[in-house]
Symmetry: C2
Subunit: 131 residues, 2 copies
DNA sequence: CTGCATCCGAAGTGATACTG
DNA sequence: CAGTATCACTTCGGATGCAG
């Protein structure tokens, strides 16, 4: 097994002793966060303006979208291109790094979509047995 | 583009009109949740008992681990094998479905670990520019 | 050993109003 | 249009105590 394959869990424990959480966990959580996943999948298609992205995703507050985009921009996942015009025009797109991450996320989302039938069946059985 | 590649965002919007969130989003969030990812990666290696898993992951309360495991069990991702002995002995392992999911998650975690240097560099540049 | 119930502070979330 | 600020509200998460 490659070193990196277990490093997540190992580092999580290693840095758990009162120290700050390992930066890896942070990055992973930004990418897999509730709105992060949707943003990445949307941007995989094309670049979006702020309001456009908000409409595309739906049911996301300005605050959360702003926060998500800033976090992902800071991690070098999303590129922010603010054109100095009135009214403001800001385009968001994926960096090369971000595109790699987004493809992984999309793979996971696609998998979930494909297996949804099995998952719902499992839920029904679980609820029937315990409920 | 395959249908499933955009269905996540589309469904999120489709069900956004006061209805319950689409079940896909729920499943994806269970898998990518804070403790969900760590549980899946750990179980990819071998089966674990409750306390063992708790120690392996580190810094997770009983409550959260229980909650995470129950959610994943309900989705048919994790298998729970409770042996009727005193004291109780419960083994957790991945179902075939769960193994597929876990491999996707591990791929993402591995990617994050590999790109950590680039991500940290991006963060420093961002902070230097804005602070 | 496993896991449930409860409490409570911390953090996340979102509607609204406001600025550049 | 793109974001910031504030505030009320909800959920998260950990500690503790208890049961099977």
């Amino acid at each position: 097994m490659a070193v990196s394959e277990v490093s997540l869990v190992e580092r999580a424990r290693a840095t758990a002793d009162g120290a700050t959480m390992c930066p890896q966990r942070g990055a992973l959580e930004h990418i897999t966060s509730r709105w992060g996943t949707l943003v990445l999948i949307a941007l995989l298609d094309r670049s979006y303006r702020f309001g456009e992205l908000r409409r595309e995703i739906g049911r996301v507050s300005e605050k959360m979208l702003t926060q998500t985009l800033q976090t992902l921009e800071r991690d070098g996942i999303v590129h922010r291109d603010a054109k100095p015009v009135i009214p403001p025009h800001v385009d968001y797109s994926l960096t090369p790094l971000g595109r790699e991450a987004a493809e992984q996320v999309r793979a996971l989302a696609t998998w979930t979509a494909e297996r949804m039938t099995a998952i719902e069946k499992a839920r029904e059985e679980y609820d029937a047995a315990k409920g």
